[in-house]
Amino acid sequence: MEFFQNLQKVLRQNIREYGMFIALFVIMAIFTYSTEGIFISSRNISNLLNQTGYIAVLAVGMTLVIVIRHIDLSVGFLAGFLGAVAAIALVFWKLPVWVVIPMVLVMGVLAGLITAFPVAQLKIPSFVASLAGWLVYRGALLLSTMGTGTIIIPDEAFNAIGNGFIPDIPGLDFFLPKVHKLTLLLGLLAIILFIFSEIRNRRKKQEYNFEVLPLDIFILKLMFLSVLVGGITWVLAGYNGLSWTVVIMLIVVAIYHFVTTQTVLGRHIYAVGGNPEAAELSGINVKNITYVVFGSMGLLSALSGILFTSRLQSATTTAGTLFELDAIAAAYVGGVSAAGGVGKVTGSIIGALVMTSLTSGMNLMSIDISLQYIVRGAVLVAAVIFDVTTRSSRK
């Protein structure tokens, strides 16, 4: 009985964090039921994750932008435009992939810094500065695809980023045929690492007398997450294994998670978000942090553009439309607060998954696009209301 009391208490205290997982779970369950299992099929999950990729990397960058109390509306068309630049470089300038990708990423950083300039130096609201960017990049995208229309990309290496899968370990065909062994192995490793690091963390916290979850709940949490990761790995391994998109997404999340939680830079970013004035007086250069965060946003926009262009194997005139709003929605569903200083990149990834699951599930159910927008809007509002109310009731 104590177990259930504990569970109730923990859930109530951390409702915001777990609520997201529960919501994701419920959404997946509903779609699995209403599509008679198609939703949870290996093929669909693999597709779903690939679709999440280009929104997820944007959402990660957007999280930090919102954490420092700004917004960047220009990222969608910036991604579209840089995708087109990549296509042009590959197709017309005949540059090799390993030149094109770094080049586009650097252009992304520059674009981010340009957006940051009026915001940091002249205190222009980022809403306005990035709205200008939205217009400019949209124009630039149209301009660069004007002569040709859609640019088809024949480069296989480039297209693999959005469509390819990691190779399997050779020579193991006798064991579990039709299953991607390397994916399984990586999934297993991830679970083991996760469990170890959680246990170490808990020990350390206990040493300092910090609050920790009761043991039974802790074990439950470990089991739940292990089963989740294990399940996804198994489903993916049953199809083609991990895609390059997912690998890239995981690396981005891992890096950003590390930077935001473990480094001085991360601490400075959250300090600026939490109280810019106090941060400035603590010797943190708020302007520089603004440049860094917008620069990173630009970098991730470029990455998003590459992922999307590669996935379509072409650059189109409308690439990137509404990406910025999807990314912002994902970040809010994932728990960032517009008041600043609050929000995790891992949350935003879950947020992105929630939003793409909705799209994917409703597509499978052949729900009309008009209704899809309405449903996504409702989910966004619900998530934010849930966020605000759970935050204030915990005081």
Partner: protein
């Protein structure tokens, strides 16, 4: 004894990991001024928040009787309706609105569907007369000083016909004149039948005004003392608050002052482009190694502006003049430069400018000196906890763990976190701006002791303070600031309250 207007019985309130109130009982007689005193974190503010419905019925245990009836407030609106008004330490006025709009905010006087502005202004003027505040009701609140804003808050409460007025540390940010004025007003209100609960760390003030005093310690009621029976004195209050006797308010100190000048400022003027006027005019002063220099003056005399103009000028003043740090001519362009040169500045307004309330104690303490606990930009979590725990012990920050969110600490403990943060920078020159505002006697003594220890180790301290006894008790030398100028300098042997006040108002 008059019948009680308020009785709180066996109130217990817990936060995760903290029992803020345990079984507290509290009785207030009708028409009295009842002071509530206790150390930082004793539970005073929490008790008042329980009473006013900030913590709704059900989130605490115990019973509240107001006007003889059991009350189950589910929010501030309920308690307001019952006739309870509360004024928090953080003022809750809208700076951009006029005085009369603020007074009737949320309680607008309407004629049909629209607000009746004429009636509003007429009634607001009445309220202002009641609190003896002589300003045009159409003045914007932001153009008033803190003392006057405080009076507007009271006028706002009175406009709702309060029977019980609660003031949480109203005089903490006021100078002596404004404080005296406010206390007079409370006496006046008492004549008109308003009951008052007053929370304060200024014991002199408590003694002068209280009919009854209740002392809280560690979330428990220690005693209730009756002033008319002569039970209230500073010694008695301190003993009950702290649990032991403190005989000196200021710790004794051997003078450690040397002749080596570590900071010197000359012809220092600053123009604030936002306000469009000079905030500092031709200031000159110096600070020696091992010295505590007091900066006295009225609120708004320019002391904070002086500190900030030195500390990397975050407000973007246009500065003329020279500054020498340890003999070297220097000018800091960012607080970062100042910190690097060994200067630290504990801000006056900890909530708005000093702390990050949504982050925890350890993150706040280490923020200005993360480099020391990081290698290659990666923070060492163990080192961070260790540092935070050291300061928690050495200046006695009351918190369950250093992972507690700072916004959840009591006001005084937040101030200690703010001090700890700047000590961790390990400065040679420490600027303290109102360092003991809102801090209890015991903790004040601790902070003074720390200051003495630091100067003995060779640090130099600039202490900006509006409390003259503190300036006189701690400084080696006093500068008096008045309208952006240094209007006088006194060695401590010659300084008296009268002389300082004379120079400050000059």
């Amino acid at each position: 004894m008059k019948p009680p207007i308020l009785e709180m019985k066996n109130i217990t309130k817990e936060f995760p990991g903290v029992k803020a109130l345990s079984d507290v009982s509290f009785r207030v007689a009708e028409g009295e001024i009842h002071c509530l005193v206790g150390e930082n974190g004793a539970g005073k503010s929490t008790l008042m928040k329980v009473l006013s419905g900030v913590y709704p019925y059900g989130s605490y245990s115990g019973e509240i009787l107001f006007n003889g009836q059991v009350q189950k407030f589910s929010g501030i609106r309920d308690s307001e309706r019952a006739g309870i008004g509360i004024i928090y330490q953080e003022l809750a006025l809208v700076p951009e609105m006029s005085v009369y709009e603020n007074i009737f905010l949320g309680n607008e006087i309407c004629k049909g569907w629209t607000v009746d502005w004429n009636e509003t202004i007429r009634r607001a003027s009445q309220m202002l007369a009641k609190v003896r505040l002589d300003v045009n009701p159409e003045t914007k609140v932001r153009d008033l000083g803190v003392g006057k804003q405080q009076l507007v808050e009271i006028a706002k409460a009175l406009s709702r016909d309060v029977k019980l007025l609660i003031l949480d540390e109203p005089t903490a940010a006021l100078n002596e004149d404004d404080s005296a004025n406010l206390l007079d007003l409370l006496r006046d209100l008492k004549q008109h039948g308003v009951t008052c609960i007053l929370i304060s760390h200024k014991l002199k003030e408590v003694i002068s005004i209280a009919d009854t005093v209740t002392v809280l310690r560690d979330g428990k009621t220690i005693c209730t003392l009756d002033a008319k029976k002569g039970e209230v004195s500073e010694q008695v209050l301190i003993k009950h608050m702290v649990g032991r006797e403190i005989n000196n308010v200021y710790p004794p100190r051997e003078r450690s002052c040397t002749d080596e000048v570590v900071l010197e400022v000359k012809n220092w003027s600053a123009y604030d482009p936002k306000l469009g006027r000079m905030v500092l005019k031709d200031v000159a002063f110096n600070l020696k190694k091992g010295e505590i220099v007091g900066f006295a003056g009225l609120m708004g005399s320019g002391r904070t502006e002086l500190a900030r103009s030195i500390f990397g000028n975050p407000d973007g003043y246009e500065i003329m003049g020279e500054m020498y740090v340890r003999g070297k001519k220097q000018r800091f362009n960012h607080p970062k430069d100042a910190i690097q040169a060994g200067v630290a500045y504990v801000t006056e307004d900890r909530k708005a400018k000093g702390l990050i309330l949504i982050q925890d104690v350890k993150q706040n303490i280490t923020l200005a000196n993360l480099r020391e606990i990081a290698s290659h930009g990666v923070i060492d979590g163990n080192a961070e906890v260790k540092v935070a725990n050291e300061y928690r012990e050495s200046i006695n920050i009351k918190t369950p763990t250093v992972a507690q969110v700072v916004g959840n600490l009591s006001g005084g403990n937040q101030q200690k976190v703010s001090v700890a943060k700047w000590l961790f920078v390990r400065p040679n020159i420490l600027i303290l701006d109102e360092p003991t505002r809102g801090i209890d006697v015991g903790a004040k003594y601790e902070i003074y002791t720390i200051m003495n220890r630091l100067v003995q180790q060779g640090m130099s301290i600039i202490m900006i303070s509006s409390e003259l006894p503190e300036v006189l008790g701690m400084s080696d030398r006093v500068y008096i600031v008045s309208s952006g100028r240094i209007s006088g300098e006194l060695p401590i042997e010659e300084a008296t309250q009268e002389k300082i006040m004379h120079l400050a108002t000059n």
